[in-house]
Structure formats: C-alpha cells, structure tokens
Symmetry: C2
Subunit: 216 residues, 2 copies
C-alpha cells in the first residue's frame, strides 16, 4: 500500500485525543476512532498497530503542545508571574465551564485510569506532569525575591498541580465550580501569605559582638 | 431459586470493591468477579442484575464504612484535631506504600473514570466526598478559636481533599511519595500559618470616641 499522508496520521491523533479526553481510554474503541476520523483501517494500522501506540502518540502530542495549547493561551498576556500561575488555573476553570464539566484535565484522568496497566503511557504522563511543574516553577522562580528565604519553588509548583488536579476532580463530580473556587482561593491565600511573609522588612542582624561592646 | 445468603451478597460487594480499586470499573468484567468471589452467576444476578448495580453497592459500602474503614483507623488514636487531619493524609500515604503505588483513593479514581457516563454512581461518589469533607470540617471546627476569624472551615476541608486527591494521583504516576510529601508539607505550612495568624494577640480596639475625648 502507499504510505498514508501525515495529515491522516494527525487526524487520527486528534480524534483519539478528543475521544480519550471525553470518555477515557478503555471505553474508546478503534471502530469509533475510525468512524469519527473518517480514516480507513489500513491507514490506522500503518501508523498505529495497536491502540496503545495511538495512546502514546496522544501523550506525545500533549507533551509537544503544552506551550501553545496551555501556557501561551492562558498566561501569555499576563505580566506578573504569580498572576500567570493563577491565570493557568483559570484556564482549567474555563475548560470546565465551556464543556459543562464533561472535560477535565486530560493528563490527570489518564494518569488514574492507566497508572497500573500501561507502563509506556505512565512514563509519558509523568513527562507531561514534569513539564507542567517546570513551567509553574519558573513562574515562582521569577518572584523568588518576594518569597520567604529558602522557599522550594519546585515543591510549591507541585502543590499548585495537586490543587489543580484535585479541584478539577471535584468540579467534574459536582458539576460545579464551587469547590474548585474554594480550594484555589485557599491556595491563593497561601501564596499571598508567603509573599507577605517574604516582603516583611527585617532589620539586618547586628554583627555578633556589637551588643556586648555596647554593654561595655 | 432459593434466595442467596446475605454473606454471598457481601462477598460479591467485597470482591467487586477490590477489583474496581485495583483495575478500575470498566476493565473489570463480570466473569472475573464471579471467578474471584467463587459465587455462581445465578446468585450474582439475583442481587445485581447489572454491573452498575454492583458499582452502586460498592459506593454504598464506602459511604457506610468511612468511619471504621478510614477515620477511626487513621485518626482514632490522635487527640489534636489538626493532627487528625494530617493523620488521615498519612493513612493515604500508608496505602500507597503498602501496595507499592498500585492503589490510590478508590473514590477519586472512580470519580474521574465515571464522571460523564454513570449518573447514579456520580451522585454516590459525591456523597462519599461530602462525608470526607464533613469529617475534616469538624476537625477544623474543633480548633476554630485557633484559626483567623472568619476562616471558612468547610472550604479549608475541601482544600485538604483536593490536595490529597492530587497528591495521590502524582504518587501513583511517579511510583514515589516525593511529590505527595512536598504538597502535603506546603498544606501543613499553610495550616500552621493560619494557626499562627489566628493566635496573634491583638489589643482590643478602643471604643470609638475615646481618642477624641483624650484630645479634649
């Protein structure tokens, strides 16, 4: 057979990505992917001999598009790095609202669905989480001088990620942003308190010995 | 047929609960539930005409056992209410370690798997989350006088839940407690800072008018 076009490959990845996002990996059948993409099975099997190969391609797509698909879109126009962090979270909130809570974080959902059963997918999910944490860590590093001395910016970025994932989970279950907003508000309160703490001016410590000499 | 014993019913619920926990709802087949429970199909269909009926029974089991299965076990011997909150989170950490990251929060995993497709399950998942939040809210209410005035104890409990769920997700993906610990440490730092803030003694405000009369 002739080699199917790369557009055909892209069409398959895009269709599978959207179906996995909407209904999960396991419930999505090859027949549905063929039907919704309009691609024939020969072309599918040329690029993706198994459904897991398609899953890997979807996770690679997310890995390669975190910049334009997520960060640029939600943080691009924001100047302040801390506001970028919360702009990113607001992007997820918009996703919830736009699709009436049918869609959450695609990576988080696949993480729980496939953690035990698909090692190749698990390591690519991990790469996606790492990129997300890297990005948020950079935002915090840009304001490191406003945070308390010794703040672990990477651990703080991890805390933002866990708050986002847990908040998305509750929003999808409750079909409401109430708990999402409450949790993000507490996170915001925490980050604000770190900044307030970091910005408290303290008088430079006296070099040791001076009080003694004053006593003399 | 004669009515199968209630022990048979319990055996089915227990087997389904453990299989759903380990591998998810969709990948678990009726045949595997029958095989692992040792129950015959007639007895299964007597109690549970569909797999979704069994899912509902599993979620009811979690709802009815949050006390003994979770709270008493991990918080029962702890006196301080704030330590109870973190004792509960430590219980989840123990679960991760004990089963080498194969098992996470059973409710959270089902929440993401079934949010769109199973409305009956979704409302029971919601009830389970509500009970969890109720419990943690009570712990915070017990120390309300140590928190800043006007702290929303329920929203704070929600924030603990989102941190737990997100942290479990990362721990299972990374097969490591590193990110779990980092996120919970930031949560702990936040709760500690609220308590420190709530405990700051402020001089009672002067009744209005006194400074003026002093000026006279």
């Amino acid at each position: 057979m002739t080699r199917p076009s790369t557009e055909t490959r892209s069409k398959l990845v895009e269709t599978a990505r959207d179906l996995f996002h909407r209904q999960g990996y396991t419930p999505t059948g090859i027949a549905q992917i063929l039907k919704e993409s309009g691609v024939n099975s020969g072309s599918l099997y040329y690029y993706f001999p198994t459904k897991e190969d398609l899953l890997v391609a979807v996770l690679e797509w997310y890995r390669d598009h975190i910049g334009d698909n997520l960060i640029d879109l939600h943080c691009g126009r924001i100047e302040d790095p801390v506001e970028k962090v919360f702009g990113l979270l607001d992007g997820y909130r918009q996703l919830l609202m736009m699709f009436e809570f049918e869609l959450g974080c695609p990576i988080g959902a696949l993480a729980l669905e496939l953690a035990n059963s698909h090692p190749a997918a698990r390591s690519l999910i991990l790469v996606n989480f790492e990129q997300w944490v890297d990005t948020v860590e950079q935002f915090f590093r840009a304001v490191e001088d406003r945070l308390p001395e010794g703040t672990d910016c990477r651990a703080l970025a991890v805390h933002v990620l866990t708050t986002m994932e847990g908040s998305m989970m509750l929003a999808r279950t409750y079909r409401s942003t109430t708990y999402f907003d409450q949790s993000v508000t507490h996170l915001r309160n925490y980050v604000d308190s770190l900044i307030a703490q970091g910005s408290t001016w303290s008088a430079p410590k006296q070099p040791a010995g001076i009080p003694e000499s004053l006593d003399n």
